[in-house]
C-alpha cells in the first residue's frame, strides 16, 4: 500500500511539473502572439494585416492535435527537430495565441474612435497612442477573456502524451496500467487540475485589480 502511494506521489509529481511548465510556457507564448498578431491585425500595413490574418485563421481553423503532430512528427522531415517540451509549448502557445489575437483585436476595437482621434489631435505618435491611451483602456477588457484562454490551454496540455511527454493525465493513465487502480489516480488528477485552475484564477484576479480602470470607467 505504501509502495503504491509512493509510486502515485512520485509519478503524479513528475506529471505535475510537466503540465505546469507546459501551461506557463504556453501562456507566455500565447500572450506574445496575441499582442503581436492582434495588433498586426489592425495595422495600417497591408502585408502585416495579411500575415496576421493568415496566422489567426490557420491556427484557429486546425486543431491543436494536428498542430502538435506536425511540429513533432512532420517537421523533422524538413530538418527541424524540436524537443518534446518545445514542441508542446510552441503548439499550445501558437494555438491559444491565435484566439488571443482576436481578443486583442476586439478589445482594441472596442476603445472608442474618439480616443485615437484625440491622441492624433494631441500630436501623439501611433505608438504613443497605442501604448498610453488605447492599450490601458483595452487591456482590462482582455484580462478575463485571457483567463478563460489560459484555463483552456491548461486543459489542452493533456494532448502532449502524443509526443512522449508524461503530463498529469498520462501519468495517471500509466499508474492505472501499472497498478490496476483507477479511482485514486483520477481523484489526484482532478485535484491537481483544479489546483492549477485556481492558481490561474488567482493570477487573473490579481491582474484584473492591477490593471483596473478607475471606477465608473470599467468596460461593461
Amino acid at each position: 500500500m505504501t509502495a503504491t502511494l509512493i509510486d502515485l506521489a512520485v509519478s503524479m509529481g513528475r506529471g505535475l511539473a510537466i503540465t505546469a511548465w507546459l501551461t506557463m510556457g504556453g501562456c507566455a507564448l500565447a500572450l506574445a502572439c496575441a499582442f503581436l498578431f492582434g495588433l498586426g491585425r489592425v495595422s495600417e500595413r497591408r502585408a502585416v494585416r495579411a500575415i496576421s490574418i493568415g496566422y489567426i485563421e490557420l491556427f484557429r481553423g486546425t486543431s491543436v492535435f494536428v498542430q502538435i503532430f506536425w511540429l513533432y512528427y512532420a517537421l523533422p522531415a524538413f530538418g527541424i527537430l524540436l524537443s518534446p517540451m518545445v514542441s508542446g509549448i510552441v503548439a499550445l502557445g501558437l494555438n491559444v495565441g491565435a484566439y488571443g489575437a482576436e481578443i486583442v483585436r476586439s478589445a482594441v476595437g472596442a476603445v472608442g474612435r474618439d480616443q485615437a482621434e484625440a491622441s492624433t489631435a494631441l500630436n501623439l505618435t501611433r505608438w504613443q497612442s497605442l501604448r498610453y491611451i488605447i492599450l490601458p483602456q483595452a487591456v482590462p477588457r482582455m484580462i478575463p477573456v485571457f483567463g478563460n484562454n489560459a484555463v483552456e490551454l491548461l486543459k489542452a496540455t493533456a494532448i502532449v502524451s502524443l509526443i512522449s511527454l508524461s503530463d498529469i493525465t498520462f501519468q495517471a493513465q500509466q499508474f492505472r496500467i501499472r497498478t490496476g487502480q483507477t479511482i485514486m489516480p483520477f481523484i489526484v488528477t482532478l485535484l491537481l487540475y483544479f489546483m492549477l485552475y485556481l492558481l490561474i484564477l488567482h493570477g487573473v484576479r490579481r491582474a484584473e485589480r492591477a490593471y483596473a480602470l478607475p471606477s465608473g470607467n470599467r468596460p461593461s
Binding site: 509519478s11 503532430f69 502524443l162 509526443i163 512522449s164 508524461s166 501499472r178
Partner: protein
C-alpha cells in the same frame, strides 16, 4: 497490451501523417535499397545506422506502457520483456545504453519515422501493413489470444464462436484490434462488440457488467488478473486463434541496424539467454521458435481457426 491495428480516436490522422512522413522519406528508402546509407532526410539529421548508434553510445527505444510486454515505472525508467530483451541484444552489439522514449501506442510508428527513436519494442504485433511501414526484426515475443470473464463456477464460452452463439453476451475488445476482427469472423454481431480503451478499464467493465467477456492477448490478461486477483476471474485461451508475434521495429532506412540486431538476437537464442529472459516474465520462448518475419508479414488476416 499488444494489438493488431489498434484503433485510437485519431488513428486515421496518425496513419495519414505516417504516410506523409513515409512519402517525404521515400528517397531515403530507395537509396537504402541499393545499399547506400547516407543522404536520407531523416538519416542525415538523426542518423540511425549502426555506426551512428555506436558513436552516439546509446539507442532510443520507443515504447508504451503495455505490461508485461513493456513497462514504464513511476520514476520513468523502463522495463518489461521487450525492453529488457532489447537491452540484452544491444549490449551484445556493443551498445550498453538503451533509453526509453515513452509514447502513446499510436504515436510510436510516426515517432520512429520522424527520427525521434531508433526502434520500437512494445509488443507491437507483426501485420502485413506494419511490415510495409517499418523494418521488423525476427519475432521475439509471441502470444495467443485469451478470454477473461467473471468466475461463475460453471463452464463459460471457450471461443469466439461460443460468444457468437449466446445472444446475451457482450464482448470487450481492445478498440479495433485483431480481437475485434476475430470476433466478427466468428459471427459475433457488431452490436455485441464493445471497444475497451485499456486493461484496467476492461476489468472495470467486466466487474460492472458492461461486458461479460474481455478478449485480449494471454500475457496481458495474466498481468491484469495478477492485479485484480485470480479468484474472481477466469482466464482461458481462446480456442482456434492464431499465435501472434511482436518484434523490434526499425526505420526502413536502417536495415543494416536491423540485420545486426537479428544476428545478435539469434546468438542470444542459441546460448539460452533469450529463453531465460522470456521465462522470467512468463513468456513461452518456444512459440517464436519456428516462426519467421517472412511468414508473419505475409500472413493473411487472421481467421477464427479451422473451418468446420
Amino acid at each position: 497490451m499488444p494489438r493488431l491495428n489498434r484503433e485510437r480516436p485519431h488513428r486515421a490522422l496518425l496513419a495519414g501523417l505516417a504516410l506523409a512522413t513515409l512519402i517525404v522519406g521515400a528517397p531515403a528508402a530507395r537509396a537504402d535499397d541499393v545499399g547506400s546509407m547516407a543522404g536520407s532526410p531523416s538519416g542525415s539529421q538523426s542518423g540511425r545506422g549502426l555506426t551512428t548508434l555506436r558513436q552516439r553510445g546509446f539507442a532510443r527505444l520507443a515504447m508504451s506502457n503495455e505490461p508485461p510486454w513493456a513497462v514504464i515505472r513511476a520514476d520513468g525508467s523502463i522495463g518489461g520483456a521487450g525492453p529488457d530483451l532489447v537491452r540484452a541484444v544491444f549490449r551484445r552489439m556493443g551498445i550498453d545504453d538503451v533509453r526509453g522514449v515513452v509514447s502513446s501506442y499510436g504515436a510510436m510508428i510516426p515517432g520512429l519515422m520522424a527520427g525521434r527513436s531508433d526502434l520500437i519494442d512494445s509488443g507491437m504485433f507483426m501485420t502485413p501493413g506494419r511490415c510495409m511501414a517499418v523494418a521488423y526484426s525476427q519475432p521475439d515475443l509471441c502470444d495467443r489470444e485469451a478470454l477473461i470473464m467473471q468466475h461463475k463456477g460453471r463452464p463459460g464460452p471457450r471461443s469466439y464462436r461460443d460468444v457468437a452463439a449466446d445472444p446475451n453476451l457482450l464482448i470487450g475488445v481492445p478498440a479495433g484490434g485483431s480481437e475485434e476482427r476475430l470476433a466478427l469472423t466468428a459471427g459475433v454481431p457488431p452490436a455485441r462488440i464493445v471497444p475497451v480503451p485499456d486493461g484496467p478499464s476492461g476489468m472495470i467493465m467486466l466487474e460492472t457488467g458492461r461486458i461479460q467477456i474481455y478478449s485480449l492477448p494471454a500475457m496481458s490478461g495474466r498481468h491484469l488478473l495478477d492485479l485484480w486477483g485470480t479468484r474472481r476471474f477466469d482466464l482461458i485461451p481462446a480456442d482456434g486463434t492464431p499465435v501472434m508475434c511482436a518484434g523490434a521495429a526499425f526505420s526502413r532506412d536502417a536495415t543494416d541496424l536491423r540485420d545486426a540486431y537479428d544476428r545478435a538476437l539469434a546468438a542470444l537464442q542459441a546460448n539460452g539467454d533469450y529463453a531465460r529472459l522470456l521465462t522470467r516474465y512468463g513468456f513461452d520462448p518456444a512459440l517464436s521458435l519456428h516462426r519467421t518475419r517472412a511468414d508473419l508479414c505475409a500472413a493473411p488476416q487472421p481467421t477464427a481457426g479451422p473451418r468446420p
